[in-house]
Symmetry: C2
């Protein structure tokens, strides 16, 4: 087996990378956005505390081109400041929270951002600031998103800012929803994707470490999300490892629905659903611990052959079937599952129930290998934190499959060691385990990949870890299986 070994000087370059990124970003902004400045309306006199950003129309921009007083977070958008405490309706509200979203011009974000802005996610007394991360090519699209948010008149949405530099966009973020990732192009190996997206998440991890709130909660959606979350976490040593999540909630939701369908009950009757492992075809939807109307699944669904042989595949193939029918990937339901994932952390978990999230394995009570990001059952007190559930049971069938997903994640981890500070990228991924449906229509790809093209297309100072654009060589032992998708299909999102 041919293996490429690339040693890197990881820790030494982090600081240097950060400062060079910052300066590059600032200078490119000042030239690119020099015409995007604060317009000359006369605000009514009042205390200035939070910020509202509204999008500029072209003539307003021109009028203001001579007086560059724009604040960084308001470039390209209309900025107002005002006092929430001055209004009767708003003075009982909580303190504004900053929510950063990457891939903000893509379809998943287009659903998610409006849910957050409406108050549906964080509640009716929680004002929000949205910080949208995109690429230089997507800046116009981000402005369009900001305009639509503005036209929606959401009372709780008190700031919208857009940017292409994660160090700026992640500033003081209390939530980072990392949706943007490069989709897998035709002929691209999973190892290529691990490397390319890994570089993005390494950079974003560094940016979070440097700029975000020290207790920022990070939900990684861009694939391969478990290993991307691990890379991000490893590059953000100042942020608690527990704060990083890889999204497996859509898998959990799909699993609940499939069990409900089989049992002939409404989906709200299915509880205690765990997705174990990787967000890939090695994922393990757990029908041993799940319950239907409070009873073990196996007592309700007597067709155990279906549970063992068809159920998991149904969950995994859902995205592929959806693309065949709908013609694009599941943006809306993915956004819903991100909302579910956030709410699971800010609302106490129902008594006796739990939810799944890809989280760091250190200290887990299940004997799963340490130092990977693995989907496991969690409970939360609603404080943003979680604890792993202890009272779960295992049988040989479940353990065997968990071990397979664990082995895959350990292999993925070896494959991105050059991005996690462990020195050597060593790829040995025997199968193509991308979920069918992990692709996107051309439009989706265009919108979200724009967010990422800067990293790969534009010359910029890079740390040692990023200089090697494709540092990993994969020897594929088994031909790729796309599980029902035609050859050449590309992946993105859920």
């Amino acid at each position: 087996m041919a293996v490429a070994e690339l040693s890197t000087s990881f820790t030494e370059t982090a600081t240097c990378f950060r400062s060079s990124q910052l300066s590059i970003s600032s200078s490119s902004y000042s030239s690119r956005f020099s015409h995007h400045l604060r317009p000359s309306f006369r605000p009514l006199p009042r205390t200035r505390i939070p910020t509202i950003s509204c999008s500029l129309t072209s003539d307003q921009v021109q009028i203001q081109a001579e007086s560059p007083k724009g604040k960084k977070e308001c470039y390209g958008v209309f900025c107002l400041t005002y006092d929430l405490k001055a209004e009767e309706e708003t003075k009982s509200w909580k303190k504004l929270i900053n929510i950063a979203v990457s891939g903000a011009a893509g379809m998943i974000s287009n659903h998610l951002l409006f849910k957050i802005a409406s108050g549906e996610v964080f509640g009716p007394d929680q004002p929000v600031a949205l910080k949208l991360l995109g690429s230089e090519r997507s800046v116009q699209a981000l402005e369009g998103v900001a305009m639509e948010l503005e036209d929606s008149l959401f009372p709780l949405l008190r700031e919208v800012s857009i940017g292409t530099d994660p160090y700026e966009v992640f500033q003081d973020a209390e939530w980072a929803l990392l949706i943007g990732a490069k989709p897998r192009g035709p002929g691209m190996e999973r190892a290529d994707l691990l490397d390319i997206n890994g570089q993005i998440f390494a950079e974003q991890g560094k940016a979070l470490n440097a700029s975000a709130s020290p207790n920022v909660k990070v939900i990684v959606v861009g694939n391969p999300c478990n290993t991307n979350a691990l890379i991000c976490m490893k590059n953000a040593p100042n942020i608690p490892a527990k704060n990083f999540h890889a999204l497996t909630r859509l898998d959990e939701n799909r699993a609940k629905c499939q069990l409900a369908l089989k049992a002939g009950v409404f989906y709200d009757q299915v509880s205690n659903m765990t997705i174990w492992g990787n967000h890939s075809t090695t994922q393990v939807p757990d029908f041993l611990n799940a319950r239907i109307r409070g009873l073990p699944v196996k007592e309700v669904i007597k067709d155990h052959k279906w549970l063992e042989e068809e159920f998991t595949e149904k969950v995994q193939k859902r995205g592929g079937v959806l693309i065949q029918k709908w013609g694009r990937s599941s943006a809306a339901s993915t956004a819903v599952s991100i909302v579910d994932a956030i709410k699971s952390l800010i609302i106490p978990t129902a008594e006796g129930d739990w939810f799944s999230s890809g989280v760091y394995t250190n200290g887990n009570p299940y004997g799963i290998a340490e130092d990977i990001v693995f989907s496991m059952p969690c409970r939360s007190k609603g404080d943003g934190d979680y604890e792993l559930v202890k009272d779960v049971i295992f049988d040989d069938y479940l353990l065997k499959r968990i071990k397979k997903s664990e082995a895959e994640l350990l292999a993925e981890k070896r494959c991105v060691a050059h991005l996690t500070g462990e020195g050597i990228g060593f790829c040995d991924l025997p199968e193509d385990t991308m979920l069918p449906g992990e692709m996107s229509s051309r439009k989706d790809i265009f919108a979200t990949s724009r967010s990422l093209l800067r990293q790969s297309r534009e010359p910029q100072p890079l740390p040692v870890t990023l200089v090697h654009h494709h540092p990993v060589i994969l020897l594929r032992l088994v031909p790729s299986e796309h599980l029902g998708l035609p050859p050449g299909m590309i992946n993105l999102g859920r």
Copy 2:
């Protein structure tokens, strides 16, 4: 001026049309959906009252192909029935309401349906049934939408049904949100669009009249929405004329935001915003009656030249600017404005405030011509009904512009007389008044036009009113002005 005159026997054909449509539709369904039947799960014993529909996977469909017991509203989806009253959590809920949405496979609907299903629109104790209308070509896409709704596990969403026959889909509908409309293709005149979409809305009006709840509330979004709403209403004589709305709420929202930007206040400080007239470039955003922080706009914004010369254009061009930036039409903010429009009818209007809606002019207190659908200021007690606001003021500037929009709507009405039962289609539309931004990306067009292609492409028995495919000839007196959009752009949605 060349004018085509086409007399039709309107009232005589309505009944015949309805029954032939129904039979055609049923037979095409039974052959097309013969493989989409009820699967053989064993439901837990319980009372069956409402219906839940979930989508079938292909193997389940095949298993069930031999036992055709599927209910009409469940074809192509998995159907369960159960008892809301049997569950502690749900027994205090309101009675299920039926909400029909046309153009359900399009982007606006993709945002709207998930908002309705989440409970954001009708409240946390209002279970909903979604009835999705599409074309035969969009059935697969509609199934994809149903699958995503299912995967979202919305507790309040208790039924999803899909169909291509408005007579079936509108059955017992208490709300009909008519989003689907044929987009204007390159070179297509506004008169062509009035005719082609008018035929669709004539058919849907007949279907509502025959099938929907007698007090169904209808919101027409597909353009040209005012005249489409008029056509729909005229074809549904059993439904109160007051129940028909043409959506001008996005215009209202945009107008509020532009006034807020100019005044330097947050948009929630702008109230009493009326859009008068047609959803076209003759629309009149009313800055005479609107208020900022409770004060007349002209007292807050001293730049009256801006109000008179720039404000209206800013509102109208917003959609066009958005498309230039974002690359597609404003689906998300349009969906938000539809939600706003619904909520304005089911939540009492705030004291002293009002909202805009395109409604029937008969009995209006403003001297606007009767028998058209004109956007005017409304208030509601939250009972689904509204009353027109009496305490508004007019000046010459406002009146003159209202008269222009009124003249346009009267001309549009003459142009579609063959579809409203008034016998003669007579088109004399001097200007192209489509709003810039009334177009769609190719993807949007594909998704939403699929819903409408059946009418124009497939042979089917038609009533006399529909036999003439292009019964109206337009002599254009003034070249079309696309107000900043490149030639050949096509229109859809907002």
